[in-house]
């Protein structure tokens, strides 16, 4: 349904076997479901639940997100680059949010 605004940062090229840092940033309110509005109504939960990162289809990093993680979550992790390939990160959450972004990394 809804998509997200995201920023995926990865080096465009690196050496084979090099450990590279992958950084992801997603624009999301991460509403816990415990807060109330100024009118006293419970704000419905709206969280990103799962972030998955695949390198040429193979799962290399995944995270389950919960309440109490700040809005606009930033996740960074390291990856040992086996070869050239496509790195794809997908975000999924409440209210049918699903979005993915991919980047090509060439290994020399």
């Amino acid at each position: 349904m809804a998509t997200l605004r995201t920023i995926l940062t990865a080096p465009a090229s690196a050496r084979v076997g090099e450990v590279v840092e992958i950084r992801t940033l997603a624009q999301h309110p991460m509403e816990t479901g415990y807060r109330r509005s100024s009118e006293g109504e419970l704000l419905p939960r709206d969280l990103l639940r799962r972030v998955e990162c695949r390198f040429d289809g193979e799962l290399v990093f995944a995270a389950d997100l919960h309440a109490a993680i700040s809005a606009n979550p930033y996740l960074a992790f390291q990856l040992k680059l086996p070869r050239s390939g496509t790195l794809s990160v997908s975000w999924a959450g409440d209210r049918g949010v699903a979005h993915s972004e991919s980047v090509q990394i060439s290994a020399t």
Binding site: R5, T6, I7, T9, Q27
Partner: protein
């Protein structure tokens, strides 16, 4: 990307050792968040603004032609006969030329466009426009800055000039140089404008805040930018 915090520091040390941006009062962790564009969450808004700019504004304005615009705002508007802020200018353009409805204050669309435009001038010194017509409005802003307001009976100057660098609860009181707006405030978990910050400060001293886009807030913004003249623009900054 890596150079500009160093430039900022040099500029701050050399020309005006006594004037410091809010960046200097932050924890190293928050500074790191601002210094690295790939970590700075405000770039989500900058990117949003870029897409909106390409879709709506690029018919008249070429990409990159806004470099140097943000440091000289608020600037004089001949039709209204008063100074307008950068966000007010975007909305005036929206009404006069795009023939569309203006954006709501603090909407993601307006903040995104403002952040995208101001980001192009990052590193440039704040430059008050040499316009004699602005003088009475600068004076009005200065008067508001020094006027005691609210149930706590405090003026902006009492904290941000006389007690700058000291602490208010857990946070350091900055010198109120608005060089990084619109900026990402960790407290807001979002990007916000200088007027949002000013209104929040007025709420803090238990005064009735002026409305978004009011002449009073524009005058205050004008005075603060003239007060910060020469300091480098940091947009989009991060603040605690």
């Amino acid at each position: 990307m890596k150079l500009w915090p160093a430039l900022l520091l040099c500029a701050a040390l050399a020309a005006q050792a006594q004037r410091l941006s809010g960046h200097a009062f932050m924890s190293p962790a928050t500074q790191a968040l601002q210094n690295d564009d790939t970590q700075n969450p405000a770039f989500l808004w900058v990117r949003d603004g870029q897409q909106r700019f390409d879709a709506a504004c690029a018919r008249c304005h070429s990409r990159g032609s806004q470099r140097g615009v943000a440091p000289r705002y608020p600037a004089w508007d001949a039709v209204l006969g008063k100074p307008v802020t950068l966000s007010a200018r975007i909305n005036l353009c929206q009404v006069r030329h795009v023939k569309a409805t203006p954006f709501a204050p603090e909407s993601d669309a307006l903040l995104g466009l403002e952040a995208f435009i101001a980001h192009q001038s990052r590193g440039m010194p704040v430059q008050a426009p040499a316009d004699a017509r602005l003088a009475p409005f600068v004076q009005q802003g200065q008067r508001l800055f020094n006027q005691r307001i609210g149930q706590l009976d405090l003026s902006c100057a009492q904290c941000h000039e006389q007690l700058a660098g000291r602490r208010l609860g857990g946070s350091t009181i900055p010198q109120a140089h608005p060089t990084g707006y619109p900026l990402y405030r960790l407290e807001w978990q979002a990007v916000g404008s200088l007027q949002r910050r000013l209104r929040q400060c007025m709420g803090g001293v238990r005064a009735e805040p002026y409305a978004f886009g009011s002449d009073e807030l524009t005058a205050l913004e004008l005075y603060l930018m003239q007060r910060a003249a020469g300091m480098p623009l940091e947009t989009p900054a991060v603040r605690p």
